[in-house]
Amino acid sequence: MEKKNKRSFRERVIGALLQFFILLFTIGTVYPVLWVFKIAFGSQKGLSLSLSLFPAQPTLENFNHILFEKPFFIWLLNSLIVAAATSVIGIFLAATAGYAFSRFRFPGRTAGLLSFLITQMFPGTLMMIPLYLIVNWLGLLDNLAGLVLVYSTSAIPFSIWMLKGYFDTIPKELEESALIDGASRTLIFYKIILPLAKPALAVTALFSFMTAWNEYILAATFMNRELSYTLPVALRNFVGQFAQDWGLFAAGAILVSIPIVALFFILQKYLVSGLTAGSVKG
């Protein structure tokens, strides 16, 4: 009896501690985000040192300024074009390559897969100078196509691994059955494999889109004209060396995050089924 009480007391203490830490981490995660909202809706240009989460004089001035007095929609369009093109090109190449890696045995298969893995081990900034030289040589500096090229190549290795892993879980009997039924390899890929791989395609597309959408360093290096900026570069310039407008920056940050959040919601059902895929027979 005594022992049982003791144990439940200990369990309760552990439980309380756990709750405390969870609360702490939640505050730690949410507070900065709320703080960004405070700044965005506030009227100050600088950073206030107050811990309060409510702006002293709430205003939409920052949003008004960034939306209508800056070329925000051009930057948005730039970002959208770059991110969309990156995910479309990336998905197409990664899906076809991933399928080949999953289904065919060819010389260099293992080496190819490993080399994709190795490219993921180097930090992106390491590649900056060689990439700059290549893009410059191609004459694509200050051109969105240059960014698309660089982003898709850097997203593809991960995407190939991701999709190959998913294709591996699709029973090969489905394809054999289709082969006997009279379908060609190409048709099988588009009519059987791709529809079944929707969850993985959604996850991969989201990954590519986000990578391109959020990327700053390469975009800042390659894009020098204000009108060819993508959103991260444009935002960064609000808090540059000479002028510091944190209000604009925060308002911009909120606007930039909207499409990503929307995309997450749209793809949510695929993301969930992507995570549970393979757990159910048949």
Binding site: L179, I180, A183, V280
Partner: protein, 371 residues
């Protein structure tokens, strides 16, 4: 309608030869069952016929045409896979119509064929459903339906019933047999289940280690297995084997096994004498062992004593597991048996039904009369 002929069919995966020079003829309209333990090469053989694997050597001839280089879709065959291989994102109708769409069959024709197949299989009400909304038996029916809409000249079945529970399996077994009776399409059916082989096949081929051990009608194979493997593989419970020494005494032939001694008569005794066998391996099926108490003794029967280990009443009959010396026997006896675990009982053995195997080659010794 078609005839399938395999000539010296060989398949190697790297250094491993999985199918070793198989020759087999499947006549028009025949239901050929390839049966064998897992890993014996039977599925590979089926996949070779389907064109899903490339031949290493030999020829596959369908309807007089060598199809070695013909892609699967042009071999005019349809296949049912072990896991059904239904397209998960298509409904039942589209699953069944897929092959016809691929072949550019007119829409109206597709519809009538799918409806007809659905009617034959009793799945008309399921046409709008997705595979994941179907039970195992229903999926199996759709998989069958997908093959029959094609009206191919050959059906291939790769262990189609192994994912079903025992009751459903028995039911589907009968349905496939019925379907074959209606359609009379040449079929090759792969299974590891000897019951399926016995009950469904118009012919059986028993495969082991990439070689066909024996082929023929089910009853032929059951009655006259050519070697110990076939004898032990076909039949449930399996045949009992025991080693014994042949002895001659006063012109009579006896076999002395550990724990018991039997007098042999007639053709069997003669054959053993002619062959000059001394030490050899004998086999007897469980149904040829009877409870001596309830069995009229007479010519062709010998009685010996065993120690009962397990008694399994099945209702219509009772299986008795017993030991005689170091030899283990299973006997299918009358349910009236008074056998009790741990006690001795008398078994009557039908000596004319005894199978004799060469100890070295394990091949069966054939003799004339099997009453």
């Amino acid at each position: 309608m078609a005839e399938v002929v395999l000539e010296n069919v060989t398949k190697k995966f790297g250094d491993v030869t999985v199918v070793k020079g198989i020759n087999l003829q499947i006549r028009d309209g025949e239901f050929m069952v390839l049966v064998g333990p897992s890993g014996c090469g039977k599925t590979t053989l089926l996949r070779l016929v389907a064109g899903l694997e490339e031949l290493s050597e030999g020829k596959i001839i369908i309807n007089g045409r060598v199809v070695n280089q013909v892609p699967p879709k042009d071999r005019d065959l349809a296949m049912v896979f072990q896991n059904y291989a239904l397209y998960p994102h298509m409904n039942v109708y589209d699953n069944m119509a897929f092959a016809l769409k691929m072949r550019k069959v007119p829409r109206a024709e597709i519809d009538s064929r799918v409806q007809e197949a659905a009617r034959i299989l009793g799945i008309e009400k399921l046409l709008e459903r997705k595979p994941k909304q179907l039970s195992g038996g229903q999926r199996q029916r759709v998989a069958l339906g997908r093959t029959i809409v094609r009206k191919p000249s050959v059906f291939l079945f790769d262990e189609p019933l192994s994912n079903l529970d025992a009751k459903l399996r028995g039911q589907m077994r009968a349905e496939i047999s019925k379907l074959h009776f209606q359609l009379k399409t040449t079929s090759i059916y792969v299974t590891h289940d000897q019951v399926e082989a016995m009950t469904m096949g118009s012919k059986i081929a028993i495969v082991n280690e990439g070689v066909i051990q024996q082929s023929g009608t089910p009853m032929d194979i059951y009655d006259t297995p050519v070697n110990k493997f076939v004898a032990g593989f076909i039949g449930s419970p399996p045949m009992n084997f025991f080693a014994a020494v042949v002895q001659e005494e006063n012109g009579q032939t006896f076999m002395q096994a550990e724990g018991f001694r039997l007098r042999l008569q007639g053709d069997l005794a003669n054959k053993i004498k002619v062959e000059g066998l001394k030490e050899t391996l004998f086999g007897i099926r469980p149904e040829n062992l009877h409870d001596a108490e309830f069995f009229k003794k007479g010519d062709g029967f010998e009685v010996f004593s065993v120690q009962v280990e397990v008694v399994e009443p099945m209702g219509a009959e009772t299986y008795v597991h017993a030991m005689a010396g170091k030899n283990r026997f299973v006997a299918r006896v009358t349910p009236k048996t008074r056998a009790r675990v741990g006690q001795a009982m008398q078994l009557a053995i039908e000596t004319v039904k005894i199978h004799v195997f060469d100890k070295q080659t394990m091949n069966a010794l054939r003799w004339e009369v099997q009453k």
